[in-house]
């Protein structure tokens, strides 16, 4: 009985003695002499209640302040004095604070950065302060290096003695005049409890507004207004990254704002001004944005960006903490108050050639690192791929739901009203948010592997500001974090000789002595590593001003292009590894940045006037989650239908677009070389219906095209007429309604084909859902055409499920056209056609959220393969064959209405996707079993509902989320997933065409989907892709397409005269046409 306990104890004991992981040693203060501890002292007047950023911590800066070749460390303390440690070699440091005079005089210090502000070749130190609230005195302090180990505080002389709410600062040369300017990040303390309109940011406020300061010969001048920098009372600035993100030679700025304020993306116009451009280039951002960092993680010469948030990975804090936005609140904030899409998790924005960013954090495996402050990219294992360090932790979790709902009232209410004191007792009731820092190993496919437990100590800490530098000059990057209420951590990197490196110092001949803003393009064995030198990164910190390259096994860099901040460049070749190189400009030549638009070879060009197709689909206001609160995604947003065919017997194809509820069908008739909308009252009559699929063909054999419109919309219930489909027959010049079998489920797709070979067109109609009964499988129908009249073929009962798409295709090569059906929570179904009767052939066990199927010989072996659009891997769903996503469907509370309970695998167990509030709002009995959030948090779905209850429920599964293709191997099919670039969002549609004019056809894929709750975010990043072959897939953003931030439904090729055009139809957006240039 007692033995396992003792064993556990021994294990724990030995574990705690072993400081560090396999890659990093954690060095003790005794060994290093670095004993700085950022101790917080709570008092009646100063605590988390009085100051919202009481727990944000101090700063850390790494740099060689005495130019002895050893990097030194500076820490700023919130309430304690700053400390400066001189590196004495061998990881021993000496506290020289008292002699150097950098201890500081402000009441509350925040970020700290080193930079050579006066351009004398010696690093100075700038310390930010919060001044003017809570009785905080002082000002931001600038310690000018006296070049003798002492510093003089001269902020006033430089115009940098701000007494505002500063959190961090970044010295860089924005106007390329050879000296360092400053972006000062301030934070709001906005006390109003309403969001306020987004344009609050336009009203400049001294205390809270960020500032851009231009260095005019040693005097810093506030140019914020003229440079168009926002400075309102709601800029909760916590993250600050400077990088030439659009690679045009001028450094740009990304500001991460906490809470509801949007992040700011300032593109440098090169004329002293900036243009805030977030919405154009970012589909969504982190919500509670904290620290951030920039590095090129995928070797394409474009800097990528991570922005941190506070989403926990572990179940207990995840379910016990206030979670995602309410979807209606979010909509209100976006539509009424003017904010952008923000979601509570880390975001990884991967930079694209068209300047837009693809957000991949969920797919990349770095979305949830708990209460995260600082992110640092660096090649810590020197394998040539960027790794990621994340410092996190919070002393108390103020968003703990039990605290908010059940404890705070009694504990705090009166204290606030009367004494303003939050006593220790109340604080003790908030759970601690101490946690182990994270470190991820970068791989070469946009993903990261969590190696925290292997690489670093799992000490529970509250780590904030962090910085890297080669403290022991062994070539690898060591890490330093400033911790709350614990000594600073020094992580000694032990990579040492196991992999090669190159360190580069850049020394231009001007006031920017450390070459801030320089770029390095290093090529090794055909692979590019691209680095920019900006030292202020992470959070409230600056790192050593060097370029560090990991080279793995390579012993030399083949070529090294240095682009200086003034946009001149020089190239070095055959540089030996494992050295520290110092480079100064030598005969630099003017560097010309490739113009972004010209850097791509466009295949598509948007058509002015859109060929007259002025169609904008408007989705109705119906919100599925208001009726079925627990379903994983919407059913109501699958439209509009698109059908193409000749409607006026002129031999030219016309266009029909489905409507949404109460918004009628629209018809565009082909003119000479354009289209014009034309009223067809008899077609548009049934406006109440939401047509999600349509077909134009001659169904009654009179040589005139007729129309089938199938209805969905997910709104109308039961036997509502609005759910029935429409059959319109052309007689003489008008269309008239014909009888059609009544099918009341939400249809998804109609596919005509003469399956019984009797000379007329029969129909396959895919069934998706029965309204209000999400998860209940519905039958799809085969409709037989007899003299232009349709009847349901009763012998066809093979397909039950949430069907989304189907294709008529002879998959077994027997000369008879078969049917393949795909859908959600199901595997593709292969239906072999045997003279008009169908039977299922052995199918693959790949249950997915399949959205589209398209025939294409992707491997070029002459037989038919099938491309499959799926959900992608960039969502919170995670599924494997062994551990599928599960959905239980049952009337759990016996009130006549079914509920869906989604369970996701995590560490071998299944947990409910939704939290207690969402589940119990539907199933009140859960509040009886779990009357605190703590009692619910960490419970598996079995523990929440009971195994017996779940065993009685219907169970649906997803084991495959990737899009990919079914490869035809002599008639048997195997599934091959696409590469990660095609997994960033659902793929919804494909179209075949010879796009590049090489005589062979290719397939264009498009997607994105927004019908999910804020829990998942917004799948808005997929730019489309041209699939030429298995290995040759090009993203749409390199071809002149812009499909991001729009949710595609259909792609179609229009041929007008000799030209070909691409028609792209989106949900709730305007249709687009592109000319295909070949």
């Amino acid at each position: 009985m007692n033995r396992p306990f003792i064993l556990l104890f021994v294990v724990l004991l030995s574990y705690s003695c072993q400081k560090g992981g396999t890659r990093f040693n954690t060095l003790s203060a005794e060994k290093t002499g670095v004993d700085f501890t950022n101790t917080l002292t709570e008092s009646d007047d100063l605590n988390i209640l009085d100051y919202l950023y009481f727990y944000n911590g101090g700063g850390v800066a790494i740099g060689d302040i005495d130019n002895d070749g050893l990097v030194d460390i500076f820490f700023s303390g919130n309430q304690v004095k700053n400390k400066l440690y001189l590196n004495k070699g061998n990881l021993k440091f000496e506290d020289i604070t008292s002699n150097s005079g950098v201890g500081g005089n402000s009441s509350w210090n925040t970020g700290a950065v080193m930079a050579d502000v006066n351009g004398d070749g010696w690093l100075d130190i700038y310390v930010c302060a919060v001044v003017g609230i809570n009785g905080f005195g002082g000002h931001n302090e600038l310690y000018i290096n006296n070049q003798d180990g002492t510093f003089s505080e001269k902020a006033a002389a430089y115009g940098l003695d701000f007494d505002s709410y500063s959190s961090s600062a970044n010295f860089f040369d924005y106007d390329l005049d050879g000296d360092l300017d400053l972006y000062l990040l301030n934070h709001a303390v906005h006390t109003s409890e309403s969001y306020g309109k987004a344009d609050l940011r336009l009203r400049r406020n001294y205390e809270t507004g960020d500032k851009l300061l231009r260095n005019d010969n040693g005097k810093f001048v506030d140019v914020s207004e003229e440079a168009s920098i926002y400075g309102g009372i709601n800029g909760y600035g916590l993250g600050l990254a400077v990088s030439d993100l659009n690679v045009d030679g001028y450094p740009d700025i990304y500001v991460g704002n906490d809470f509801h304020e949007d992040d700011y993306y300032y593109l440098n116009n090169g004329d002293g001004t900036f243009t805030e451009s977030l919405r154009t280039y970012f589909g969504h951002t982190s919500r509670f944005s904290m620290g951030n960092d920039v590095a090129d993680i995928n070797h394409d010469g474009l800097p990528d960006l991570i922005s941190l948030d506070m989403l926990p990975d572990e179940e207990i804090p995840l379910k016990a903490s206030e979670g995602d936005d309410n979807i209606q609140t979010q909509k209100l904030r976006i539509k009424e108050y003017g904010y952008h899409y923000q979601f509570t998790r880390n975001m990884l924005h991967v930079n694209q050639p068209d300047g837009r960013f693809i957000e991949t954090a969920l797919m990349s495996g770095i979305a949830a690192t708990d209460w995260s402050w600082s992110s640092l990219f660096g090649d810590f294992d020197q394998d040539g791929e960027q790794d990621l360090f994340v410092a996190n932790g919070i002393p108390k979790r103020p968003n703990d739901l039990d605290f908010i709902k059940f404890i705070s009232s009694n504990q705090i209410q009166n204290k606030i009203n009367n004494t303003k004191l939050v006593d220790q007792q109340a604080l003790d009731m908030m759970p601690t948010g101490m946690s182990a820092n994270y470190i991820f190993k970068g791989k070469n496919d946009l993903t990261f592997e969590d190696v925290s437990t292997q690489w670093i100590s799992q000490e529970m800490l509250i780590s904030g500001a962090s910085a890297y530098g080669d403290l022991d000059n062994d070539g690898d990057l060591d890490l330093v974090t400033n911790n709350l209420n614990a000594p600073a951590t020094i992580y000694e990197n032990k990579t040492n000789e196991s992999a090669n490196y190159l360190k580069i110092k850049l020394r231009p001949n001007n006031g920017n002595t450390h070459g801030i803003g320089s770029k390095v393009y290093a090529y090794t064995n055909g692979t590019l590593q691209y680095k920019e030198l900006f030292t202020a990164r992470g959070f409230q910190a600056s790192s050593q001003p060097i370029i560090h390259l990991g080279l793995g096994e390579a012993t030399k860099v083949d070529s090294l292009k240095v682009v200086w901040p003034d946009n001149t460049f020089q190239v070095l070749r055959n540089i030996e590894a494992n050295q520290e190189l110092s480079i100064t400009p030598e005969n630099p030549k003017t560097y010309t940045y490739p113009n972004q638009e010209n850097s791509t070879s466009p295949m598509f060009k948007a058509v002015d006037g859109n060929l007259g197709i002025q169609f904008t689909h408007v989705e109705d206001n119906y919100l599925d989650f208001n009726r079925e609160k627990l379903i994983p995604y919407k059913v109501s947003d699958r439209g509009p239908a698109l059908a193409v065919g000749d409607l006026n017997e002129d031999g030219k194809d016309d266009l029909l677009f489905g409507g949404s509820k109460f918004i009628p069908v629209k018809v565009f008739i082909r003119q000479d070389s354009t289209f014009a909308e034309q009223e067809y009252p008899e077609i548009s009559e049934e406006a109440i219906k939401e047509q999600v699929s349509a077909s134009i063909a001659d169904f009654n054999g009179d040589n005139k095209n007729d129309i089938i419109l199938t209805s969905g919309g997910g709104d109308f219930l039961g036997q509502s007429k609005a759910l029935t489909d429409t059959y319109l027959v052309k007689t003489d010049s008008a269309y008239s309604l014909r009888a059609f079998p009544e099918i009341f489920q939400n249809a998804s797709v109609v596919k005509p084909y003469d399956y019984d070979n009797d000379g007329d067109l029969d129909l396959f109609i895919g069934g998706h859902t029965e309204t209000g009964k999400f998860g209940k499988t519905v039958p799809s129908m085969l409709l037989e055409n007899t003299n232009g009249e349709f009847s349901i073929n009763p012998s066809f009962a093979a397909v039950k499920g949430m069907v989304t798409d189907a294709v008529w295709s002879d998959f077994d090569g027997d000369g008879q056209t078969d049917l393949i059906v795909v859908g959600e929570w199901m595997s593709p179904i292969f239906l072999k056609n045997d003279k008009g009767t169908f039977r299922k052939t052995a199918s693959l066990a790949i249950t997915g959220l399949w959205q589209a199927i398209h025939p294409f010989d992707i491997d070029g072996d002459g037989d038919q393969d099938y491309l499959l659009g799926n959900w992608g891997t960039n969502s919170k769903f995670n599924a494997t064959q062994k551990q599928p996503v599960k959905m239980y469907v049952d009337d759990f509370d016996k009130n006549g209405q079914t509920e869906t309970v989604i369970a996701l695998p995590k560490n071998g167990k299944y947990y409910p996707l939704e939290g207690l509030d969402a589940l119990s709002a539907q199933m009140v009995f859960l509040r009886k079993s779990f009357n605190t959030y703590t009692s619910f948090a960490g419970k598996t779905v079995d523990e929440v509902f009971g195994k017996e209850k779940l065993a009685k429920a219907d169970l649906l599964e997803i084991n495959t989320l990737q899009s990919g293709y079914l490869q035809n191997n002599n008639g048997s099919f195997s599934f091959v997933p696409f590469k990660n670039e095609l997994q960033v969002a659902p793929i919804m549609a494909f179209v075949t065409h010879d796009f590049d004019g090489d005589g062979k056809t290719e397939v264009l894929a498009g997607g994105n989907y927004f019908g999910v709750k804020p829990y998942h975010g917004r799948f808005d990043s997929f730019p489309g892709a041209l699939i030429k072959s298995e290995k040759n897939i090009i993203l749409g953003n390199q071809l002149g397409l812009n499909f991001t931030q729009k949710s595609l439904r259909h792609l179609h090729i229009l041929k007008i005269d000799s030209a070909s055009y691409l028609l792209a139809v989106f949900n709730d957006a305007a249709a687009e046409t592109y000319q295909i240039l070949n």
Binding site: I48, L49, L52, Y53, S192, E193, S194, Y195, G196, K197, F259, F288, E322, N326, Q328, T329, K331, L332, R333, K335, E336, P398, N399, F403, I404, K405, F406, S408, S409, I412, Q413, N414, I416, N417, N621, Y622, L623, F625, N626, R627, K629, D893, K894, N895, G896, Q897, E899, A921, Q922, M923, V924, R927, K928, N931
Partner: protein, 447 residues
């Protein structure tokens, strides 16, 4: 050591159980007040919205009342007076049955069913059970059996009131394209609560729409329109009284009648709640004050609670029917949008549409019910809110209190005048209907 302790304990227990005296169990009005206070306390903890809280008060009181009506001919059963309520079973034996005790046990057991944190009711119940059992094991057992039997009967009736079904009905859909339509309000921007409360089976009124009020002034933000004037009035009053300071009579009135069960406060990432009783609970508190002041006996106490809680419950059904019919936008949204973007109401705006004012309707109805029992000139000192840090206020009648509760919502900046004035009338009309249509006491009817 442990063994000795257990032994000692057993010995003690045996001694204690041997000492059981067969004294009669006396249940006082205070015992009943205690159970009502207990369920109020648990409701505050569990956070029930005002309509749901009104339902939680009504059923347990009805269970208790029905038991007493079996014994006391001065009170008539509510069977066939309340919708779909059939008569409770007769006790198997009247011998040794303590009706008051059975009524209290039924009350407690119904409370347990209705709230979430059962453990809190259970420990309260168990400590009382232990005492009663010690006093008279037989009387307790017989009374308990009957009390629980009636509780089960009432619960089965309760389960058919559509409450469960309304849990899965659609949420209120926010549609900001209609400028008059209600939108979520700061700081939590919560969804509109209980949009289907009108579908809950009412107790007395014919239908949720029976007391459908006249519509508010037509929506218009044109200066000079009646509606705009009402918006402006809220803003002006608010400015006027906040200028006078927190000690002004109007601010005190607003705070006294706030009765918001969950006021959320956000300070950066720190969030917390201040929790208070609901409007219904405040009037239940006034019922308690009245019964105590009149030294009412146990049966009359239960009668007063029952009648008041029925009137309140139906008032919520009537009011919520109108709220989600007119779906009117709150003053805070309009004033921020059109007049002053930094204005905040004195009280936090509750999360549901504006018209009519729930507190006004409920206060109107409750005041009629209480007046029917205690008379129209019943003066009292209202100390209901003292536990929540608010002062005592004195009233000369229930109607006076109701009128003050109504106008408090304008001072609080959360309602326009029409919602308050028409609301209190809606409540009085409804209250009168309840009083006129319920035959309960055969002796104490004063009106």
């Amino acid at each position: 050591m442990k063994k000795v302790g257990a032994l000692l304990c057993m010995v003690l227990l045996i001694t204690v159980s041997c000492q059981k005296a067969n004294e009669p169990i006396v249940i006082t009005p205070d015992d009943y007040h205690g159970s009502v206070d207990k369920v109020t306390e648990v409701m505050i903890h569990d956070i029930f919205s005002p309509p749901v809280a009104s339902r939680i008060y009504a059923y347990p009181n009805i269970a208790a009342y029905e038991i007493l009506a079996k014994k006391n001919e001065g009170y008539q059963s509510l069977q066939n007076q309340l919708k779909e309520l059939s008569g409770i079973p007769d006790p198997e034996t009247a011998e040794n049955l303590n009706y008051e005790l059975a009524a209290l046990i039924a009350h407690i057991d119904m409370n347990r069913r209705l709230i979430f944190s059962e453990d809190r009711i259970n420990s309260y119940r168990d400590s009382l059970y232990t005492i009663w059992e010690d006093m008279n094991e037989n009387e307790f057992a017989i009374s308990k059996k009957y009390g629980l039997q009636v509780s089960e009967h009432i619960a089965q009736w309760m389960d058919k009131d559509n409450y469960k079904q309304t849990r899965t009905m659609p949420k209120f859909t926010v549609n900001s394209e209609d400028p008059s339509r209600w939108q979520p309000t700061p700081p939590s921007y919560m969804d509109g609560i209980e949009p289907h409360w009108s579908k809950i089976r009412a107790f007395v009124i014919d239908s949720a729409a029976q007391f459908k009020p006249t519509p508010p002034p037509p929506f218009s933000m044109e200066e000079g329109s009646d509606f705009y004037k009402e918006v402006r009035e809220v803003y002006d009053i608010s400015n006027e009284i906040t200028a006078k300071g927190d000690e002004s009579e109007e601010v005190e009135i607003a705070k006294f009648w706030d009765c918001n069960p969950y006021v959320s406060v956000t300070r950066g990432h720190l969030m917390f709640a201040t929790k208070k009783i609901t409007p219904g609970a405040h009037w239940i508190g006034i019922a308690k004050i009245a019964t105590k002041k009149t030294d009412s006996d146990f049966d009359k106490t239960v009668y007063a609670y029952t009648k008041t809680s029925i009137a309140i419950a139906d008032a919520f059904i009537s009011c919520w029917d109108e709220k989600y019919r007119s779906n009117l936008i709150r003053p805070e949204t309009l004033i921020n949008e059109h007049i002053d973007d930094s204005w905040e109401p004195v009280l936090q705006t509750p999360p549901f549409p504006e018209y009519t004012s729930g507190h006004s309707v409920v206060s109107g109805a409750a005041s009629v019910a209480l007046t029917s029992i205690f008379g129209s000139d019943f003066a009292f000192d209202d100390d209901t809110e003292v536990p929540y840090g608010l002062p005592v206020r004195s009233f000369t009648s229930f109607y006076e209190a109701a009128d003050e509760a109504a106008i408090s919502r304008m001072y609080g900046g959360i309602h326009y005048r029409a919602a308050v004035e028409i609301g209190v009338k809606q409540g009085r009309d409804l209250g009168k209907f309840v009083v006129d249509n319920l035959s309960m006491s055969t002796t104490t009817q004063t009106q």
